[in-house]
Structure formats: C-alpha cells, structure tokens
Amino acid sequence: MTMINYAKKEIICKVVYYGPGLCGKTTNLKFIYDNIMGQYKGKMIALATESERTLFFDFLPLDFGKIKNFNAKFQLYTVPGQAYYTNSRKLILKGADGVVFVADSQTDRFEENKESLKDLAVNLREQGLDIRKIPLVLQWNKRDLPNIVPIQTLEETLNFRKVPTFEAVAAKGIGVFETLKTIVKMVFVSLGGQG
C-alpha cells in the first residue's frame, strides 16, 4: 500500500525482505546501509537478539530524492525468519508494496526455503495481498559456501512465477544492490499500472 502524499510530493513504498532464519536478510540491509550514498539513507534500526537473530524487524528508510515531481522514499524491512515468529511476520507484511525473498543456498537449508516461501504466500493472503501478483524478487544467497543447491534446482523449486532472480553473497555485497534496484523498479512499475 504505497502512500502518495501530494502535499509533500512524496511517494513512500514498503519493501519487505523475507526468508528463513539466518538466510541473510539483515545482512542485505546492513550492506545497503553501509554502502549506499549518505544522502539516500536514514537511520537503520535492528531489533535483534545477541545471537544476531532478528527479534522483531530491521528497518532502513531510503530517500532517493526527486524523481520527476515526486520525492521517492523506500522503507526496507526484514522479518524474523524462525518459524515461530509467524505473527511478527504478518504484522510486518501489512501494507507491503514488494517482497525480496532471500533463499539460503545451502543444501541442508533447502526445505526451510520451501517452507518459508509457503509461509510468505499464506501471510500475504492474510493481509489481502497475492504472492502471484505482488512485485517479487528472489535472491539465491550464500553462493560462496560449499554444499550448495544448484541454481537450476532453486529456480525450478522456488521460482514458480519466473520473477527476476539474483545470485548473491550478501556478506560481501555481491548481488545486494542488483536485488534492490530490481525490486524498486518493479514496485514503481506496479504503481504506475494501477487504477
């Protein structure tokens, strides 16, 4: 649910990074925060436990400045990945304009990716959103680790919509900005095509 503020000439969009526990959602946001130009970023908050697991959500506001007549602002959120935080995930998906699904490429996390994607579909539906229509980008993270699932298997299993996908090593920043740019563009395209 984009907010279009004609008074301030602002468009404010919400993008949620989703995926199983410890797949690298927060790492994506941290890399963006550390590497994006200062003029674009606001203050990041991370509500995490000491073991680096996200407890509620992370939040990073980005202000891209003026595009045509509007000031474009994006608010990036992550969800807590562990299965039992499903209520938190529902809350954070409320009003989402786009979703980045971060999959953990490691073989032993394959099933968790599938479960998390199903969980995303259910939770989106509860917010009146449709996983088949919402702007969505998939990121295959941790491609530098041993014992990883082949890209083709990930594509066949998780990319049922044939949406854009990116190989990534979020800790090193590989694929992070490509993912962000693509979801931002998709959200804008969906915004323009409404009504």
Binding site: M3, A72, Q75, K94, F188
Partner: protein, 156 residues
C-alpha cells in the same frame, strides 16, 4: 485483488496539521505524530531534531501491532491505547479507528488524564480524514517516474 494506495491531498494534510497543532497547544505535548497502520508517518508537529519522526512512527506501529496480538491472546479484539511511562517523558498512543495511530509524547508537567481526554477527541476528528485517504484515487499518473528516471537514479 484490491491493492489500494493511500493518497494524501494537500488540503487533508493541512487539516491534519491544524488538528495536531491544536492538540499540542491543549496538552503542551512535546511532539505529536499521526502514523498509519503500516507505520508510515502521515504528519508530525515540529520537534527536537534528535527525535526522528520516521523511526518513531515505524516503532510505534510495530509496538501497537504487537500489543494487539497480546490482546488477542487474552481474548480481546484489540487494545486501543498503549502508554509508556518514563522518568520524565511518556508516550501515549491511541488508535484512530483501524486507520492509524495518534502518538503524543509529553513530559510529567501534563497529567495523563488530560492527554487521554484530548487524544480521544482528536482521534474522532482525524478518523474521517484518514478514511478518506484510503478512498482517494491517484490523479496524476504521468507524474510517476519512468524507466529512464529510474536508470538515472541508480547510477550510484
């Protein structure tokens, strides 16, 4: 699938600003914010630069959402009021129907009862404006950025 955007027209923002400025005078509040139910800031009174209204709005909505889950656990439909009391400053959050939250930050010179009374009155004034936001249609599609604009934007 319905995916309505919220559209805030200049005249509606003016009305909201007038309402919260009036509340600020009535209550001597430090800062007042109007946040939508997804955590997006709609309006705020001027405040100390150390207070970031965008972060405050996001955390408020998260806090409010979590509190409503608590309500459901004990069999309540929701909690409409959340109050945090500090040593010197306090945060009073009151639901604006199902559309948003009125956030009032105030210090100990103002009695909580006064904040509660005026906040309730204020949410009633704000509710129709926030409901209207959800029904507004975008008027100027041509103002949205083109592919070229976006490509230029991402020349980081």
């Amino acid at each position: 699938m319905f995916k309505g955007n919220k559209v805030l027209q200049p005249e509606d923002l003016d009305k909201i600003n007038d309402i919260i400025e009036k509340l600020k005078v009535q209550t001597k509040a430090l800062v007042i914010l109007v946040v939508d139910d997804t955590g997006q800031l709609i309006a705020n009174t001027e405040s100390d630069p150390s207070i970031d209204p965008i972060l405050l709005g996001t955390l408020t909505a998260g806090n409010f959402g979590a509190t409503n889950e608590l309500a459901k656990l004990i069999g309540e439909a929701d909690f409409t009021l959340v109050l945090h009391e500090g040593n010197k400053e306090n945060i009073h959050m009151l639901a604006i129907g199902e559309c948003g939250i009125l956030v009032v930050i105030f210090n100990n010179t103002t009695p909580i009862g006064l904040i509660r009374m005026y906040s309730q009155k204020t949410t009633k004034e704000l509710l129709p404006i926030l409901e209207k936001m959800q029904q507004e249609k975008e008027k100027k599609k041509t103002d949205l950025p083109s592919d070229e604009d976006l490509n230029n934007l991402f020349n980081w």
